[in-house]
Symmetry: C4
Subunit: 383 residues, 4 copies
């Protein structure tokens, strides 16, 4: 029982876990450890530093110990993790962790310490285990999720492009080998050798260690370069469009979440939420503009997507930011606005207009009753 | 008669043919054969392996035989293929196959066997026939269709860009030749020689085998590089937009197909389908959200584009996936929902709202009768 | 009078002029002449061919004469050209032609003949005049117009990007010069010398004739390369979006032209056309689908943007292609369709629905009368 | 008091300040000074020119003096600048200027003069101060604002991409070091040395000073190049989409500003403006088309976004350009148009249709009264 509670606490503190006080410090420790381990690995490979590094093994041993500690704690707390269900039901949660991407990485980076303690010199193939600890950092970089989702959606097209590149690489290299082999038998020894030239040229890297000298070879090489430009252009376009689609998909989801999170619409079914989400309009307003004038009649509920507004309340004005909303009381009771609202920064709203709202509730008397109850309750409570 | 039936069977088994049990095995055989033939060709060009390869010709002969067999079967079964009609009516279907892209490739890859059996050594120009067998694989890569259609739509612009690149190549190379010829007469021998420098620079490959040394030459070369960046940027933008347009075009077609495939709307004309397709709204819903509550009144028909929902039926819940729909009974009869529907994954719906549906049928009493008949019939049958 | 008529004829025959029988032949002659002149110029620069080319000057003289003839004819017929008005009212049309882009090119390519006849050897700086004849071809490449318009719209941003690149080039080169000067005084002689390294690296060309060897130099060079990637990414994005906007702008214009070209709406003001254009919906239909069934009641007017449909008329069916329309009689008279219409290819329509049309004419009784007159007149005439 | 007025005058004349007569001349002087200072710095680094430049120090001293003068004036007039408020309230406006980007640059470029007068030779590390004067020019390049805002919006994704590139750089370089170290111990000395190869290859620069020779090394290098292409494609896509979103955001803001700037709608709240902005439609009209015919009944108010129209008034026609509007009188009074309006160039309008306008004011009698008052007042005044 106590062990179970301790395990929960430890899990919550391990980044990226629940919101525990210790989590940021643990994250800092783990990231610092990865950076130190990688830096040590890089420096171990420098010939001038090797004698020095071979003597001073305290740091590598310390890093390795922290990796081991992290791995053991993660393995122990795996049963607390909800995301690990379902993929490999036979393996249980600990087993699922061990075969997951992060589990494999966490285990692999523990390998060098064993060899180090067994007396093997650092460096060599062990350094590979040192640098893959960098993949542990992918837990903390969440901004790439959108890019990854975009590439995931377009994976069939991108894979087909890589296959096409491979096909072109072989055919063009064979052609250039046949043309250039006689002129430069030392350079263009065989088709596999010529494929090195091919990939260097198709990707527009162009080292210049192999380049054709005959007229026919140069014409074929010129065509290869043009094809290479095309091969660069297509995935760029594909990824750009995939990225735009993924972002639009997430915006639709966000609108949905905004509507369903409004207290006014709490407890409604997805079909009503969808109806209401469809009625919202996006509105951009510059800074320092009056959105609502006190005493005027209401026309809309305003939800702030980003930006900031100020409500002119007595005695202290109140500021609303991204995620907050105003104007819902007026929408339901059709009485004059009780305060003036002004934008502080350029602000993007989602607006539910009075006309759209009325056409919605006229079609659904049940919804009207529900909404008015919610609203009168809110008015009594605040503002 | 028996021959004709056999031919049909063989045609169905030849990939990419009809849905025959043997087709996947045939595809695997053909793809494996292409890979083996290409690998053999690549290895034959390696000087160290040439004596060995010259002795062991069983594998090339086997590959060549399979190519011959495939070609003969495809030629024989060509009359079964519907796609070959119309292009060359005079040649008949067998002739049309022979002059089609795949027919030419299928025939060309049969060439090496003939020379091999005639005693010619492998390698040399014959290896080109070996590697173009890779083009046979284009039958199986369907994901590039969208990219190809996008480039097809923008072909005029892309062709004009290639012509512009050629024009700039000649003019810039002439300029650099005039500037650099005196300083490096060995390198910049003539304008055609300088064009090699031009294409290497414009495509940003940059081998470095030829580069200007004079001040004027380097200024012109710097401008050439900037133009090269521009020449890379334009086709990327053009392809990206072509790709986006092609995808949107296909989405419009898909919405059309979804509506016309619904049993409710079966047998309607394109003009009605178009009216209904225009009324559909896209709706994104996160996972584990209630879409419809049992006992509530209906507001919409939901069509699942991608994702998954669960219908809470007794005794076993039922799951609906991409391509299925629900809620159509309620749309027509305005009675309470008979079951609760919840999303299992993030799901994208196309929704036909009640209000839109009613305004549609109020304008067309004929349509209403037709739809109600279809619906009552479906209700009697299932769900 | 006769001279004037002759001039009109000649102008019409000169490409790209009016629709004259001779124009394609003239275009072919001029394009062939440009290609021959350019090829001659390129070959004159090859040392091995120079004695041969110096002896045989018939071809250059012939090309030059044709250039002179073209120039004189274009100058003479300039008064027939409408596009030359307005830019330089003081110069008149002939003067406007002489200072226009094409006029300058047409004149410059005439220069080599003069020197050739004066006994100067071919080649040298004269070859520049030879290759710029390629710019004459820009008269015939119209597909680049969209790209040019897109770049024109984004010119401020693109120019600012080039300036930024120049700024970064100078600052980064100064930095690398300070770092690398001591290690490689022969290579990194001065800041202007180092700027050659800078432009080669920022554009990712990478000749490799100058590259840093010190640690600090390589770190700065790595940052320069990353900045170079960024400098490649930004204009690509800017051009792609400019291209998309330009295309959308042209599509809006095209919808406008389609509506105003329909006989039904001939003679309406722009404000009515705009109202109607706003009511059109885009509709994609796959091939072999019934768009209208004979005997059903009408719901829409269909305008074919691209694709093809077949009207099932007795005794011979009739095909309609891009730019044609059908269904307008039914829209006005609300009587059953007189024939079935089926798509032959995947077809994109612009559809004017009955409901939208009726709400339009209910608001404007004048418009109704006008349209019904036009329609009844058309029905009497055909179909 | 006089000092304060003088300071206001000086502030207004300093670019980019208020609209003062002297501002363009001051801008020209400052830009010229930056260019001269940079050119001097570049030339000072050329070995051949160094004796000459060391003797003639008048120009550097003059440039430095102007920089000092500019800096002192800007520091003195800082209290006049409104943009400097708020960031560092403790420092005051002069302090805020000193720690702002431009303040730091303005101060740094003053450094060389001090050393020069103290007798230090020009060149060396001082040249860095010379070239960073180029950053002063960023005050005058406003077109990059859109690009900068787009990159600002996507900064998390772009930063994550740079981190990913760093991660891949270290892992791939470690791999190649392990493979190639034995074959080329002189080139691939250590992992940090190999990282130079890695960045040169990932960015597709490809100097060719280090390149693998073993088969395994070349395969890994080929994969590195493909990853490099991907790393180029992703930021391009991200920036393109960020640019498109930023532009759309600004267009929404612009529509808002257009509506709120119309005299008809002056003094309305943001919620009414938003309602009206949502009713506007974009309309593209080619040149030389009648938009409104005299005597016809009104249907819309036309706002010119770009392009030009001509109103056929007696005795002299009047031209309206971007930012002007027409047709508002007819919208309110429903009487025949008093003049014909024709487009002179292809013109983009924002149109407020009669139907949309009427449905708007029917919902809000207050608004109607307000608008009719404004309109009748305008009609009396003009047109």
């Amino acid at each position: 029982m106590a062990a179970s509670r301790l395990r929960q606490q430890v899990y919550a503190a391990l980044p990226v876990g629940e919101e525990h006080r210790g989590a940021p410090w643990m994250a800092a420790l783990i990231i610092a450890n990865v950076i130190v381990a990688t830096a040590t690995t890089l420096l171990q490979s420098v010939p001038e530093l090797q004698p020095f590094m071979a003597e001073h093994t305290t740091l590598p041993v310390l890093c390795g110990s922290i990796f081991w500690a992290e791995f053991c704690l993660r393995l122990w707390t795996a049963p607390e993790c909800d995301r690990l269900w379902g993929k490999f039901p036979l393996l249980g949660k600990c087993g699922s962790y061990l075969v997951s991407f992060h589990g494999v990485i966490d285990l692999l980076v523990c390998v060098p310490l064993v060899f180090l303690l067994a007396g093997f010199p650092p460096g060599g193939w062990l350094s590979l285990f040192g640098v893959i600890s960098l993949f542990k950092l992918s837990r903390y970089v969440t901004s790439l999720e959108l890019v990854a989702a975009a590439m995931q959606n377009e994976r069939h097209t991108l894979m087909a492009l890589v296959l096409t590149l491979g096909l072109l690489l072989i055919v063009l290299s064979t052609g250039l080998f046949l043309i250039e082999h006689e002129a430069q038998p030392g350079q263009f020894k065989s088709i596999p050798h010529t494929m090195w030239w091919g990939i260097v040229t198709l990707t527009t890297v162009g080292y210049g260690d192999m380049s054709p000298v005959t007229l026919a070879g140069r014409i074929l090489a010129g065509m290869t370069m043009l094809i290479g430009i095309g091969m660069l252009a297509i995935p760029t376009g594909v990824i750009a469009i995939g990225f735009a689609n993924e972002r639009r998909r997430r915006e639709l989801l966000q609108t949905w979440k905004i509507v369903s999170s409004l207290p006014l619409f709490k407890g409604l079914d997805a079909n009503w939420i969808s109806e209401i989400a469809g009625l919202l309009k996006t509105l951009m307003v510059p800074a320092h503009v009056i959105v609502i004038t006190k005493g005027e009649f209401s026309t809309a509920l305003f939800f702030i997507v980003d930006g900031e507004v100020e409500i002119d309340l007595h005695p202290t004005p109140r500021r609303l930011k991204s995620g907050e909303f105003f104007g819902e009381a007026g929408l339901l009771q059709n009485k004059p606005r009780s305060a003036t609202v002004t934008t502080v920064k350029p602000t993007r709203f989602l607006v539910l207009g009075l006309a759209e709202y009325q056409s919605l509730i006229s079609r659904a008397p049940d919804l009207r009753k529900k909404l008015e109850e919610t609203a009168s309750q809110r008015t009594r409570e605040s503002r």
